[in-house]
């Protein structure tokens, strides 16, 4: 870190894109009128897809469980409104591939009737395990974008004795302001959620990192934390990717998460501000995760802003509500740096959808990629200290293992390298391609091992069956011999008796 950076506390890594959060961030939160139909995908989290527990034609109430977790790392899904299940089938996933995912379709009845909710007035009297259990049952997942089931992280934090909870209010992606809005409008709920999470993981202090380009959020959070000394609001410099957990941990605590390690191993756990607000709602009021704040922004949107919308709302419905000035040239779920390009607007928002961006032609323009000029800008920008140009050169030659030697596994796909590249090389796409190919190879070799085990099991079975057959044959033969001997003995006795008589 150079002298200037030390003086101004600006990190040496990262980039500083134009944040373009205004005017959407300043517009008061609007509530989306309930759409006629909601499309709820069964995979909205990291892990196994959820399993539906409702049938087509079945009436459901708002907040009712409609799909149960499909494994240890999974999350349940609840009905975002009351109505009738009208279909369970495939739907275009909010995913760059444009492939389908199974989803539950609910026709809203407009009454918005709640199922019975079980809140809790004093969560701090509950055992930490009970809070973890209730959070899991409410289907809360990380709302910063990673969508990792929060309860799994709670029990991990409890097990590894994490002392510090870091609350991520960084929101470094341009255009997005949903976390900003949560902190401004629901600061008390966020702080209460933070304290509940601290109780659940046994943390002694909480540091709320907020980028200094959100002064209103910082002020609101400072007001809300006045009564609680253990929760500290820490403004951090606005620098992309400050909202990435590893970078935020390093900025707030000075500790660096080692490669191949989790944040919990350096004694901290990171949760997003929106996740904390969701935990507050889940524990205090018993409301599962069925609604969230979504930023609708981009040059093609007439009235950009933040909407309180149910999970499963079609992106077209959100855009119709906000109005469009022109047909969007590109739709993105999430932020412009790490978000997911979408094939069309007839796909729903999911738990991890922090924003929907509808870009106009000027914003969506992709400059043509040129050859690498070895300027090293990407290496300077990389927040993980990697060499993106070297990794990309290996991947271009299909040498994925070579890219792995340069630290591909540590790449967080933040997009700084591709943003800064003067030759406009799509570096992140190279890395995503290589990560996908490597995990496909990993899966194939696991499959090979499984095949080997199955073949051995079959050989053992055949061997066992042969032995059992032989044993049975021997037993039958012995029985036959015994019977013959008995018959012979009988006839001998009879003859002897005949003789004696």
């Amino acid at each position: 870190m150079g002298l200037m950076e030390r003086l101004f506390k600006t990190p040496a890594w990262g980039v500083h894109p134009d944040d373009r959060k205004q005017p959407a961030a300043a517009v008061p939160l609007r509530v989306l009128p309930m759409p006629e139909r909601l499309y709820i995908p069964l995979l909205q989290h990291v892990g196994a897809p959820a399993r539906p527990v409702v049938l087509v034609g079945q009436p459901v109430l708002k907040g009712q469980l409609i799909a149960e977790p499909g494994g240890n790392i999974s999350a349940p899904i609840h009905a975002p409104t009351s109505g009738t299940v009208i279909a369970i089938g495939d739907l275009t996933a909010p995913h760059p591939s444009g492939l389908t995912l199974p989803a539950i379709t609910i026709a809203a009845d407009g009454a918005d009737r709640w199922a019975e909710l079980h809140g809790c007035d004093d969560p701090f009297a509950l055992a930490p395990e009970e809070i973890t259990r209730r959070t899991a049952a409410a289907g809360v997942v990380g709302l910063g974008g990673a969508t990792f089931p929060s309860a799994v992280k709670f029990s991990l934090g409890k097990r590894l004795d994490v002392g510090t909870l870091i609350v991520n209010g960084g929101e470094c992606e341009p255009y997005l302001s949903s976390d900003d809005r949560v902190m401004r409008d629901f600061a008390d709920a966020v702080v209460d959620g933070v304290r509940i999470v601290m109780h659940a993981i046994g943390a002694r202090q909480a540091l709320v990192g907020i980028e200094d380009n959100k002064p209103e959020a910082i002020a609101a959070m400072r007001r809300a934390t006045e009564a609680y000394a253990e929760v500290k609001v820490c403004p951090v410099p606005a620098r992309y990717p400050m909202g990435s957990d590893k970078q935020l941990i390093q900025t707030l605590t000075g500790r660096e998460v080692p490669a191949d390690a989790r944040a919990a191993e350096v004694g901290v756990l990171v949760h997003n501000v929106s996740t904390c607000a969701a935990v507050h709602r889940a524990i205090r009021k018993g409301i599962p995760l069925i609604e969230r704040i979504v930023t609708v922004n981009g040059g093609a949107v007439k009235n950009p802003g933040n909407l309180w919308a149910p999970i499963g709302t079609l992106i077209d419905d959100l855009l119709n509500f906000c109005g469009v000035v022109e047909a969007p040239a590109r739709l993105i779920l999430g932020g412009p740096m790490m978000g997911t390009p979408l094939p069309h607007g007839r796909t729903p928002i999911v738990k991890g959808a922090s924003g929907i961006l509808a870009f106009n032609a000027a914003e969506a323009a992709v400059p043509e990629a040129g050859p690498c000029i070895r300027c090293g800008s990407c290496a300077k920008a990389c927040p993980m200290g990697l060499l993106p140009m070297e990794m990309a050169a290996h991947i271009r030659a299909d040498s994925f293992k070579g890219a792995e030697r340069f630290g591909l596994a540590d790449c967080i796909a933040c997009g700084c390298c591709a943003y800064i590249c003067p030759a406009h090389i799509p570096l992140v796409q190279y890395f995503s391609h290589a990560k996908g190919e490597l995990s496909a190879q990993e899966r194939a070799s696991l499959r090979n091992d499984a095949t080997k085990r199955l073949v051995e099991a079959r050989a053992a079975r055949i061997e066992r069956e042969t032995q059992e057959k032989a044993a049975a044959a021997a037993r039958r033969k012995a029985e036959r011999d015994r019977a013959k001997a008995a018959a012979a003995a009988l006839s001998t006795t009879v003859t002897a008796e005949e003789i004696s008589s």
Binding site: L99, T451, L454, V455
Partner: protein, 175 residues
């Protein structure tokens, strides 16, 4: 009686030791490379490569009679592992041709004859006499032995559909 027992015991002991020593001294050295290659193979002996089982394919690979992409169930991962092990040239375009496949039973034609169950190298088919059979997806390697054996053509190989979880970003077009 005693003399017979003693002489036979002596003879047996001597011959036993003799055989033991012969096994040590006249041991046939197998190529360790063949064993290492065989350990890489799936070991299901499905015969899709055209060699007598996985060990036969391993011998052919080491002797240079087979290409690295010889094993269809092993896929790209095995092909690149073999190419790296034996310094072979690798043509992955052939491996990608067919994609992963899985056996499936046409339930309206299956007569429940149990013949496919006997030829499945991984015990991936479930069924009993005169009951419709089914394939355990996780265990099927797509070797196709059952397809050849089925008397009613109820067994077919189907491509495994691509899912969101298995999708891979395409490589960017070269600039």
């Amino acid at each position: 009686m005693i003399a017979a027992i003693l002489s036979l015991t002596l003879l047996g002991t001597l011959l036993g030791f003799g055989l033991g020593f012969a096994d040590r001294i006249f041991k046939v050295e197998s190529n360790p490379l063949i064993d290492e290659v065989a350990a890489l193979m799936p070991g299901s002996n499905c015969g899709q490569c055209g060699f007598p089982g996985c060990s036969g394919a391993a011998v052919a690979l080491v002797e240079g009679r087979a290409a690295a992409a010889v094993c269809p169930p092993g896929g790209k991962a095995l092909a690149s592992a073999l190419a790296a092990k034996l310094s072979l040239e690798l043509d992955l375009s052939k491996v990608a041709d067919r994609g992963p496949q899985i056996a499936s039973v046409a339930e309206d034609i299956c007569i429940g004859c149990c013949r496919c169950i006997k030829v499945c190298p991984t015990d991936a088919i479930l069924g009993a006499a005169k009951q419709i059979h089914n394939v355990i997806r996780e265990a099927c390697t797509g070797c196709g032995n059952c397809v050849e054996r089925c008397p009613t053509e109820a067994m077919t190989l189907q491509p495994i559909p691509l899912t969101v979880q298995h999708w891979v970003w395409p490589k960017p077009a070269l600039a």
